[in-house]
């Protein structure tokens, strides 16, 4: 999976400049229920994976999220 592209897509849906792998998702101002929905939708539309509600709640950093999506693809 192209990780830089993933972080770029994540930044776009969160409407922020840049997302780094070590960023803690909860620290983003915009990390609310809408953001979560947008991430689920992006994962489904762009990566054809279905992330469950419990899974996204257990993810801490942007890199955790990228790894989750990657694992599901394989």
């Amino acid at each position: 999976m192209d990780k830089p592209e993933f972080y770029q897509r994540l930044a776009e849906i969160l409407d922020i400049e840049e997302v780094k792998p070590e960023n803690v998702l909860k620290d983003f101002d915009v990390w609310d229920s809408l953001a979560i929905l947008s991430v689920l939708a992006m994962a489904d539309a762009k990566y054809s994976v279905s992330i469950k509600a419990e899974e996204i709640r257990s993810v801490v950093t942007a890199e955790d999220l990228a790894r989750l999506v990657e694992a599901k693809r394989n």
Partner: protein
Amino acid sequence: MKCTFKNKRISSIITVVPSQEYRFDDEYHYFKMNEAQAKRFKKTMSLDRHRIAPPEVCASDLCLFGVQRLLDAGVLKKEDIDAILFISQTPDYILPATSNVIHGKLGLDHDVICLDMNQGCAGYLTGLQQACLLLEIPSVSKVLLLTGDTSSKLVDKRNRISYPITGDAGAATVIERCPEERTIYMDVKNDGSRYKALLIPGGGFRMPSSAKTLELREVEEGVIKCLEHADMDGAAIFNFTMDDVPPQIQDVISFSGDTWDSIEHFFLHQPNPFIVTQMAQKMKIPAAKVPNNVVSLYGNCSSTTIPMNIALNCSGPMLTGTHRVCLSGFGVGLTWISAVLDMGPLEFCKLVDYETT
């Protein structure tokens, strides 16, 4: 679970909304949102405005108003009503059933069967199924299906997740026998193990109404609610609408012998425009076939979104021709029901404002 019904048709639809309209731009200051956040939210969710009933108006009032308009228009006669179905999660009373109360207000004779059924988002399909079951009985020729909810009474104005997308509405649909076969193909699925995804914890018998259940608290940033308000797990609902509903729609299309292309219109329940867009993309249905503007203009009005969708977007064609449609209601329960059928020409198909006389 598959069902089929023959020789039944929907003949009239009226949807009724409160005349009080509120715009997101005027309301977002309740939600502890700054302008940038509000803009983003409004854009992603395609929000604009919604209709909220005044305190003294219940769902049954909206439905009854619709029935009166149908009677006035001459497309329905009181003596022809053989059954009243009231599908709601916001009834007038715990008991008696609201359909009984409506029966009394209409002054109908005793030979009418009245049933209240508790259903939310899938309620229009539940009602359609129930009407068809009743219409198998020789003494039942015409069923009045009433769907309605005043969900706004179950949410605080300052709840930024739920309030902007909430809308109140009622609908009256007439379903009757017809000589043409017009088979209705339906599939019903239930999964009560995921009931927590959409739940009102208090107010029923599990947790009766008390000072505690009425106490408003900020449960998370910008979400103010009490135990008698609806809890919604947005992510779980999203997973459900993406994972469970499309396969059912595919299944019922195969069941009816149709293809994705042969269906002219997909009238899906409207939880919010974001979800409907995602679903349409997943199922590869062109957006033009999946009207998706109910929430933006009126709010998510539970089981009434489907008839509202039809009256708002398709009344012209529905009054003049026959169309192959797919209806799909999904949500609280969790329950998901989809159907393929021919609809139209209808005798009546309108969206009106509620007026107090």
